[in-house]
C-alpha cells in the first residue's frame, strides 16, 4: 500500500483516453501515455499525453523515456520495454513495473503493493 504523503507520478502507455483503456502492448510506439498522480494510496489526477516519438524512424523507446522523464514520471507500468529504453530508465531512476490489463487494473494492483 502506498502510504507516503508524497505525490508519485505513474506513466502507463495506453490505447484509449481514459482509465478503462487497455495498456498498450508496446511502449516506444504506444499511442499515448496516461500520466497518473497518486497520493496516500489514491489517484488524485490523470492526463493523457500523446506519444510524440511514436512515428519516428528509430529509437522510439529512447524518445519515449525522454518524454515521460520530462513529464515527471517516477514509475512506468508497461507490458514490455526494449533494451535501450530499459537502460535509460535505470539511469534516470524511473521504476519499471511489468504489468498489463486496463490502466485502472494495473493502477489498483500498484496501489495494493
Amino acid at each position: 500500500m502506498n502510504k507516503t504523503n508524497e505525490i508519485v507520478k505513474i506513466c502507463v502507455p495506453c490505447v484509449g483516453d481514459n482509465l478503462e483503456a487497455e495498456v498498450d502492448s508496446r511502449f516506444g510506439r504506444a499511442r499515448g501515455f496516461m500520466l497518473v498522480e497518486v497520493k496516500d494510496g489514491e489517484i488524485i489526477s490523470f492526463k493523457l499525453e500523446k506519444n510524440i516519438g511514436a512515428e519516428q524512424r528509430g529509437g522510439a523507446g529512447v524518445s519515449a523515456v525522454e518524454q515521460i522523464s520530462e513529464l515527471g514520471a517516477n514509475v512506468l507500468i508497461a507490458r514490455e520495454i526494449g533494451p535501450k529504453a530499459q537502460n535509460i530508465l535505470e539511469q534516470l531512476d524511473i521504476e519499471f513495473i511489468n504489468d498489463y490489463g486496463t490502466v485502472k487494473d494495473v493502477l489498483s494492483r500498484y496501489l495494493r503493493r
Binding site: 523515456v65 525522454e66 520530462e70 535501450k84 537502460n87 535509460i88 534516470l92
Partner: protein, 278 residues
C-alpha cells in the same frame, strides 16, 4: 585494370550469382578481386564456398563526455537527430551508442568543450581465396545504422589493392540507397541485373535513373529471361539508351549449383565476358 559493378535494384535477380560466376570465369586467365559490398547480407563467400578470415574491424567515431566539464545544459541532446543522446535538465546526458551515426553535431554544439571522441565497432572486412579468385567481403554489425561506412572501408582497400589485379568485380546490395551508391562510385562499368517481370521493370527503372545521375554507363543483363514479358525491359532499355547485352534463361541446374555452393559455369556468362568485359 577494370572495375566492374554488378547491381540491379531489385533483390534476388541474380547479382551475386552473376558476380561470382563472372569472377570464376575471368579468373582462368586473369587476376581477379571479387568485392562483396552487400554488407547487410554478404553471400559471395557462400556461393563460392570460400572460408573467410577477419582482415580488419571497421570503426566509427562516437562522442565521449567529460562529466567534470559538463554543465548539464542539454544542448547536445537537442542537436542529436538519431536520439542517441538524451538530455534531461539537471542530469548528465545519457548516450545510446547503437543509435549514433557519428555526425559530430553534439561536439560542435557543446559550449564548454566537454565532448571528445571514442570509437565503436560497426563492421568487419574479411578476405579469402579460391579458384584463383581473391575475395574481399564486407559485413555490417547487426543493428548499426550506417552501412555505407563499411562500404567506404571496402573502397579504401580497393583503392590500395586494385593495381595488383586485372579485374575488380564489385557485387552491390539491392536497392538504390547510400551503401549501393558508395559501392558504384568506384566502378568504370556497370552491369544491371534484372528479370522480365513488373517488379524487375520497376526496380530497373530506379537503378537506371540513379546511374544516369551518376553518369556511369550501364549494360543490362536480363536474367531468367524466359519467365515473363521481355518487351517491357527492352522498351525501358531504349528509353535510357542502354543495351541488354545478354538474356540468360531460367535454369534449374544453375539454381541447384547455387544452392550447393558450386561456382556457376554458364555459357551465357562466358559469352558476356568475351564480348563486353575483355
Amino acid at each position: 585494370m577494370k572495375i566492374i559493378g554488378i547491381t540491379g535494384g531489385k533483390g534476388g535477380t541474380g547479382k551475386s550469382t552473376m558476380a561470382t560466376s563472372l569472377a570464376y570465369s575471368l579468373s582462368k586467365d586473369f587476376k581477379v578481386l571479387l568485392v562483396d559490398a552487400d554488407v547487410d547480407c554478404p553471400n559471395d563467400h557462400l556461393l563460392l564456398n570460400i572460408e573467410r578470415k577477419l582482415f580488419k574491424t571497421v570503426e566509427q567515431i562516437i562522442p565521449k563526455w567529460d562529466f567534470d566539464k559538463c554543465t548539464k545544459c542539454g544542448l547536445c541532446g537537442t542537436v542529436c537527430k538519431t536520439k542517441a543522446i538524451i538530455s534531461i535538465k539537471g542530469k548528465n546526458p545519457i548516450f545510446t551508442k547503437e543509435q549514433c551515426n557519428g555526425c559530430g553535431a553534439c561536439a560542435l554544439k557543446c559550449p564548454v568543450g566537454a565532448i571528445s571522441w571514442s570509437k565503436k565497432d560497426i563492421g568487419y572486412l574479411y578476405t579469402g581465396s579460391k579458384y584463383g579468385i581473391d575475395l574481399l567481403s564486407g559485413e555490417l554489425k547487426a543493428n548499426e545504422p550506417v552501412a555505407e561506412f563499411v562500404v567506404n572501408a571496402l573502397n579504401e582497400i580497393i583503392e590500395k589493392k586494385k593495381i595488383e589485379y586485372d579485374y575488380v568485380i564489385i557485387d552491390t546490395a539491392a536497392g538504390i540507397h547510400c551503401p549501393v551508391i558508395v559501392a558504384l562510385e568506384m566502378c568504370d562499368k556497370i552491369f544491371a541485373v534484372t528479370e522480365p517481370t513488373p517488379l524487375g521493370k520497376h526496380d530497373l527503372n530506379l537503378i537506371l535513373e540513379l546511374l544516369k545521375k551518376m553518369k556511369i554507363d550501364v549494360h543490362i543483363l536480363l536474367n531468367r529471361s524466359d519467365i515473363g514479358d521481355k518487351d517491357d525491359i527492352y522498351s525501358l532499355a531504349r528509353e535510357f539508351k542502354s543495351k541488354i547485352i545478354a538474356e540468360i534463361p531460367y535454369s534449374k541446374n544453375l539454381i541447384l549449383d547455387y544452392s550447393a555452393g558450386k561456382p556457376i559455369k554458364n555459357e551465357y556468362i562466358i559469352k558476356i565476358i568475351k564480348e563486353y568485359v575483355q
